[in-house]
Symmetry: C2
DNA sequence: TCCGTTATGTTATAAAGTAACAATTGCTAT
DNA sequence: ATAGCAATTGTTACTTTATAACATAACGGA
């Protein structure tokens, strides 16, 4: 199992899957998924929308844990390095990665209204961009694709209000 | 003329082209390219690398102009709305748009080392992403693609140092 | 020329991210 | 087991990026 199934599992099941997968991957790689890092990953997966660093920090504090910004940012850096989360630069938020086994560029649909995110996986797009880079002798290290717009629910919502 | 020629004009010529094009477009659209907005656009085009808002503000102050952050951000908002510049979210910087006539998503190669930026224009990628969005009933408003890596010069540089 | 709209000036503050150093934890080799 | 080293976390202070709110000025049509 290296990809989260598309069968729309419950959020709690997704979170369990992500944590278990992360633990396995870190063990294989000889990196340490500490309590703090695991908790940050859990917080990210437990949220229906991507969270900013300070929102994560608030949850940690609610846990009763001590913490300052560097606490969160260091955990986030680790999770990013391990490919367990993505950072959405246009919104300064973080979201769990659904295919943490293969390092890959992020492809996201981001709802401008509700903040929900859908992760795409279009290998053709990735290949085309790699080819564009190569043709310009550019050494591509990472790809980030962020499509901003409106998710189906918010779209329906907006249309019903318009009437 | 609706696209900056690929024949590698001088930076000064590029800047002149961009300012003239912007003036025409704004007139056509009935929007006002004021002195401040024009100057900010000129500052952006005159720089070999994309600039952050505060770097632009520094130049404005060197001009002898009064100014605070909102001064710059408002001008930038206008230029973004008009499609005259792009914002590179991963770096919090702004760069001139080479095809300001057609609103379009940005596709960029960004050099991690020197900060230089190359704007791509791959309609296939754009169409594929639009199709992905549509198949999920997602209403796509804008696409942002940022490929981070190393430009040919910095690549050569790095390789020569490695020896 | 008056008036409403749009743009800019100004002050203050919010939000996001990092530097630097101290304290702690965990692992390894004796 | 334990000394010593490396990795992680705690803590303080700060930098950078961005916006809110309100005052002033410029512009453009009745």
């Amino acid at each position: 199992m290296d990809e989260l199934a598309q069968s729309d599992p419950s959020p709690a099941a997704e979170t369990r899957w992500a944590l278990a997968r992360a633990a396995t991957l870190c063990e294989q790689r000889g990196t340490r998924l500490t309590d703090l890092r695991k908790r940050v990953l859990e917080i990210i997966w437990s949220s229906p929308v991507p969270l900013g660093a300070y929102a994560i920090l608030d949850v940690l504090r609610d846990d009763g844990r001590q913490g300052a910004p560097p606490t969160v940012y260091r955990a986030l850096d680790f999770l990013l390095e391990q490919g367990l989360i993505h950072r959405l630069a246009t919104l300064n938020v973080f979201t769990g990665c659904r295919r943490p086994d293969s390092f890959h560029g992020g492809q996201f649909l981001i709802c401008r209204d509700c903040g929900q995110v859908d992760e795409l996986n279009n290998p053709t797009v990735e290949a085309l961009l790699r080819a564009e880079a190569a043709s310009r002798r550019f050494d591509a290290l990472s790809q980030m694709i962020e499509v901003l717009g409106r998710c189906p629910e918010c779209r329906r919502e907006a249309e019903s209000h318009a009437r």
